[in-house]
Amino acid sequence: MAEYALRRTGYGLLVVFSVIVLVFLGLHAVPGNAVRAQLADSPGITEEEIAKRTAALGLDQPIGTQLLHFLGGIFRGDLGRSFVDNRSVASEIGERLPITLQLGLMAVIISVILGFAMGMLAAVRQNSLMDHSLRVVSVSGLSIPNFWLALLMVTYLAIYAGWSPPLVYEGPTQNLGNNLAQTILPAIALGVAGMAGTARLLRSSLLEVMQSNFIRTVRARGASRATVLFKHATRSSILPVFTVLGLQVGAILGGTVILESIFSIPGLGLLVFRAVQVRDYPVVMGCVIVYAAVFVLVNLIVDLTYGLIDPRVRYR
């Protein structure tokens, strides 16, 4: 187990390292030069200023040197400074990451709770009207783009309930009510796809387990339907659902970009979106790396917790 954990962690670090290198090389493949691309629209900029700025950012050094310098910085928790306001990228990300993580966590909770309820209901009432309608819901849930769903919710809540989410963000410690009012709709929109996927997987996995020999034995011993379902069957059928949880988190993280910009939630997604618009490369680079690191970390945790959920899993 310890060896497995170590190996998985090492592999996770390797993936993050390759993301850093690829992102770095990708940005240096920008046609021309990053400073020139970023300042292209600024009026009255002289060649001299461009050269000065390039030197100040160390962009006139050979690419190998720059990469080493960048990697060294990351080790010290330094992701460089923003082109636009010269703020430290690391501290800006540090401020915004918790907001995105809160949104992501809410989405995961919604997707897991609703997905489990739907999946179990569909499996217990297999081939009933309920099962068929839940199937329609889950296929639609997988297909509906989260940003469209969010727009529809805002529109119809405003028209029929006269309610719209607050436009100014407040942290959960400042004003919990407003914070939740602003984040609940994007969290639902982000969670729906995961909910649909979870429901579908859990249904098929439950149906398979319910036909297995050990469930027949449990039934034969006189266990009630509820005991069979909740105590025995669910536990055995969780694993495939849990496996895709890591992937769902990836989709949720990607979705935060678009939903944070719709609901003006100042998280990491809004930061990277704004930075892309003004070509603030250090910020873009920092955000991509942090997003990837979070995704890799979540998948690592999922991998390592397999054994806790299902002791049959052997670590190799």
């Binding site: 993936v15 296929v139 910009s261 892309v276």
Partner: protein
């Protein structure tokens, strides 16, 4: 799309007669009712895209100045937007943009991803495989939309660059499937026999590797179409994909966000078209999986 599905499935099987192919096609229609409906919807979208100029009552950028944000009625089926453009016509033209982008993306990344996957799988465990897999893992590790934004920042916004970014996004999905399948095929006795008979690597890959990949690849292709449609619209929604005034569903949605309460039809119809297209590809993908691989029933 119809014919490629059935013929490629057919070429992997021993009998290759026309009648056999036709009966296989009927079997799909008979056993996968819902997927067949989905296929019809996809064909309708393609027809709408190709014949948009003939089917649309108004031009894609034509402004009807007397009808600004006109609610849907008999004349303007889906209403008009804030510039007085007919939304029904723009949804048809938007299908054109979406289908053009997604077809190009899926075809090119299918070719690149399959090539990478086949090479990687055949040389499984060696340095070429390791290198390719590390690159693919790095791409997968970056959440989809974040990766697209990064690539848009690097390349700059345009339709061509949107396609390039989308290709990079989905190449790993194709390569994973192809590699997995190739790792299996590599151990098959007939590959060994071919090698013993003196077949070169290229011949083994093309003659024995590729035909085995078609069934799994057809399934992912359909599902990836759904993903690409959403991703392209998301990018356009953020103002980074298709530049205006080209009609695109994502762009129409973002234009509608300013008028949610007074003109909800501006977001309802383009989003509905997008969802319907995505739904059709997802259902078709599921149907194809059940049909081509009966072991993996949902």
């Amino acid at each position: 799309m119809v014919t490629t599905t059935t013929t490629t499935a057919a070429t992997t099987a021993p009998a290759r007669t026309a009648t056999w192919r036709r009966s296989r096609w009927w079997e799909f229609v008979r056993t996968q009712r819902l997927a067949t409906v989905a296929l019809v919807i996809i064909v309708l979208f393609v027809v709408a895209a190709i014949f948009a100029p003939l089917l649309a009552p108004y031009g894609a950028t034509e402004q009807i100045r007397t009808a600004i944000r006109h609610a849907p009625d008999g004349r303007y089926w889906f209403g008009t937007d804030d510039l007085g453009r007919d939304i029904y016509s723009r949804v048809l033209y938007g299908a054109r943009t979406s289908i053009l982008i997604s077809v190009t993306t899926v075809v090119v990344s299918g070719a690149i991803g399959t090539a990478i996957g086949v090479l990687s799988g055949y040389f499984g465990g060696r340095w070429l495989d390791s290198l390719l897999q590390r690159i693919m893992d790095a791409i997968i590790a970056v959440p989809g939309l974040v990766l697209l934004l990064f690539l848009a920042a690097v390349l700059g916004p345009s339709i061509r660059n949107t396609i390039i970014a989308l290709i990079i996004l989905i190449v790993p999905a194709f390569s994973r499937v192809a590699r997995g399948e190739m790792l299996r095929v590599r151990e098959e006795p007939y590959v060994e026999a071919a090698r013993a008979n003196g077949c070169g690597t290229v011949r083994i890959l093309v003659r024995h590797g590729l035909p085995n990949l078609f069934a799994p690849l057809i399934v992912v292709t359909s599902l990836l179409f759904a993903g690409v449609l959403i991703a392209e619209s998301a990018l356009s929604f953020l103002g980074i994909g298709t530049p205006p005034p080209t009609a695109s569903w994502g762009r129409m949605l973002s234009e509608g966000t300013r008028f949610l309460e007074i003109a909800p039809w501006m977001v309802v119809f383009p989003g509905g078209a997008l969802t319907l297209a995505v739904l059709a590809f997802n259902i078709l993908g599921d149907g194809l999986r059940d049909f081509l691989d009966p072991r993996s029933r949902r």
